[in-house]
Amino acid sequence: MSKTFDRLVSGIDSDGHGAYVEEHDEESNSMVINMGPVHPSTHGVLRLLLELDGETVLRCEPIIGYLHTGMEKECEDQNWRGAVTIVTRMDYLAQFANEQVYSMAVEELLGIDLPPRAVAIRCMIAELNRLSSHLVWFGTTGLDMGAMSAMFYGFREREMILDFFEMVTGLRMNNGYIIPGGVWVDLPDGWDAALEAILDVMPKRLDEYEALLNENPIFLERTSGVGVLSRDDALALGATGPIARASGVDWDLRRDMPYEGYEGVTFAVPTATSGDVYGRYRVRMAEMRETLELIRHFADNMPEGDFKNMDPKLTPPPRSELNRSMEAVIHHFKLVTQGFTVPEGETYARVESPRGELGCYIVSDGGTSPYRCHVRDPSFVNLQALGPMAQGQLIADLIATIASTDPIMGGVDR
């Protein structure tokens, strides 16, 4: 066998990466195995370096970076409006949450207010996004555990929501819909009927999912007591979102640090104490039901009026104005050629994305593009809890744990 082959077998890739292997003791009878970056259930290109004793995981090191395309840096090359199209591609299953948090940060630096309709549209579509993201989680969790049908059921309902997104924004993913100052286009005619169809069918479908899995003995065996994360560990590792809430951390930014339209709304934040995969499953399922009520709340109380801040320094004038007003032409020219400027300063905005606290740290030098745009992605932070959770488990449990962590590698690597 060649030297290269030896290295590959021992878990080091062709570039000599995989430094963890160097600690590996050849006498210890354990096996080092690479799970990923190309593996059916590592949710994209997550690479896990596993040390196995038989099927027991002795050590699990997540290795990330296989999807890194420098998106944060790319934001600096866009103007403030254009960077929305970059952030939306980070956590691509929670695209509206990304757009929302970025826009909130920019708006804070601009010091502008949003019209109420813009706030309601944003919150409604972000909650729908939470639903679609959790449906993908539901499908992939079922698939990873061998319950293949769950995937098709989850994606069937997600398709309805994506159709709604397409109806509103023109795109299914990477929408670039929420922009600093509001949303870039108003809700189309007939949006309420389309939404009603989703809200009608979803509770029934959620009942079906829960009938399939909630009390399934095999599912219980695969999930309960698996991938346990204690409350203290969850706090110490900075885990947020459903993972932390399943460990008993009663923390939801929508309720505890309300932003945009969540003030004055009544909703529940489901929590569990078990901290295992089953707890996370139940928390997410309960969250979907709560989300449905929130969507209904925002849709029922949709105000009339502008859907974006009409400040001419921020929003191009209507087409009809351009024929009459020289000032409008100048504004239009400035906004199209270089975009608006943001006052010098820095700020941090945060929202509760489907996966936890999604933050955006923005620095402006007073120019027309971000000086720095850092995104605190929940998948990235939650992923560091994977190692402690997987310790001492079987491979099958590790798969269930990854699925319950619900990492989106686009968000992890950015």
Binding site: I33, P40, E55, F152, N216, L220, Y262, A272, I395, A396
Partner: protein
């Protein structure tokens, strides 16, 4: 065809012997039918599971997509025959064959129907009526594990190795439960031959006396199938049989979301197709055995019916046998669509701590109940049945303490600053 055989020079037939011609014809026929059946079963599974998953399934190639499997097979046949550098050459080549052949062999003892008379020769519709039929079935069934183990070992890769280790443990332990679940059948039928076992299931239950009451209206309705009195053995057989075939929820050796593709990760082309074929033939074989041993084999609901028309005498049994087998194949598909995969340690737990003790207990119960028909009346048997059934129901319905994951949570008004 038969006239043609008659026109052959007498000495040729005498030289070969009609038995050898008949046996060869049966082998070729069963092999061909089994291959075609497998193609149909794969198509059937894909269509049924698609229906269960709210999608369409293969429908392009041939009527209702029937030729899809054929097209897939042709594609696999012409694919590059790839062998990893680290693979053990000959073992790698032999393993898929060893996985496939035993699955076909198991069909030798499955009676497809009653006998027919062709050109004065009695032809039993079973390839070989071995007097150790069940033992033969178990023996060739266990041979299949070698293909899987050797495939994993010979691939020279880690995921297949884990898959084959899983498979070794799984198939060996479930082989025991499978064998034990068939002992009561042998006790009741008084024979290990599958033909005798089917013959023992002919007719219906007569003179049903339940707690001193004569239930005349049930007479001639309940068929004398072994499922009626041997259903605990059937449950064990079914679970162990599914585990034997490496099918969901026991598909741990190939567990695609854990081990990429398990033992056949490194296989492609026609070698992969052999594993695939072997698995599906195994499914058909287990289904056929379930029908044969517990559901009366080729016996229909009302055995008096086919006597009316002569050619129905051998068509109807085959029809019944096919219906029963397809029903079991459907069950296999249904389980795959519904259940998540078991975990390795739980799988062993179910096998060793539930199925094997259960099978042993049931053997004792069956032996006692069948000791002397005069001494053990029907009501006593029914009482034992009722107790076993009640224990099972209580065990299933006892509730699960693991279901309390969710804390009681209530709705809260959201106002700024309540952190």
């Amino acid at each position: 065809m038969i006239d043609w055989i008659k026109q052959l020079p007498g000495n040729v037939i005498d030289f070969i012997g009609p038995e050898i011609i008949i046996a060869t014809a049966k082998v070729v026929l069963v092999f061909g039918v089994l291959l075609v059946t497998t193609l149909l079963v794969i198509w059937f599974e894909r269509r049924v599971i698609a229906d269960m998953q709210a999608r369409v399934g293969p429908n392009r190639w041939g009527p209702f997509g029937l030729f899809q499997t054929l097209a897939d097979g042709i594609k696999l046949f012409f694919k590059e025959d790839f062998r990893p550098a680290a693979a053990d050459r000959w073992t790698f080549v032999i393993a898929p064959v060893m996985a496939m052949v035993p699955a076909f062999l198991a069909f030798a003892v499955v009676p497809l129907g009653d006998h027919v008379v062709i050109a004065g020769h009695r032809v039993d519709l079973v390839m070989s009526d071995l007097n150790i039929g069940i033992l033969y079935f178990l023996a060739v069934g266990s041979l299949g594990v070698y293909g899987v183990v050797l495939a994993g070992w010979a691939s020279g890769s880690k995921y297949p190795l884990i898959g084959s280790i899983r498979s070794t443990a799984q198939m060996i332990s479930y082989e025991i439960a499978l064998g034990l679940s068939l002992v009561p059948i042998a006790l009741v039928a008084g024979s290990l031959s599958t033909v005798d076992i089917v013959a023992a299931q002919a007719g219906t239950y007569d003179n049903i006396v339940l707690f001193g009451r004569d239930l005349n209206f049930l007479e001639g309705i309940i068929p004398h199938w072994f499922i009626v009195q041997q259903w605990p053995a059937f449950l064990i057989f079914l679970v162990a049989g599914i585990a034997e075939t490496n099918r969901a929820p026991f598909d741990l050796p190939e567990a695609e979301t854990e081990l990429v593709a398990g033992y056949h990760t490194e296989y492609s082309g026609i070698r992969f197709a052999m594993f695939f074929l072997g698995e599906y033939v195994h499914v058909v074989a287990i289904s056929a055995m379930a029908a044969t041993l517990f559901f009366g084999g080729w016996h229909g609901w009302n055995p008096a019916f086919p006597a009316a028309i002569d050619w129905l005498r051998w068509i109807v049994p085959i029809f019944w046998f096919t219906i029963k087998t397809v029903a079991f194949v459907y069950l296999f598909v249904w389980l795959r669509a519904t259940l998540p995969r078991l975990r390795y340690d739980r799988l062993m737990w179910v096998g060793w701590k539930r199925l094997i003790p259960g099978a042993l207990v049931w053997i004792v119960v069956t032996a006692v109940l069948n000791s002397d028909p005069e001494e053990v009346p029907t009501s006593a048997r029914l009482w034992v049945m009722a107790v076993v059934f009640a224990i099972l129901l209580a065990w299933v319905w006892r509730g699960d303490p693991r279901l309390t994951a969710l804390e009681p949570w209530r709705k809260k008004e959201v106002t700024r600053g309540t952190a």
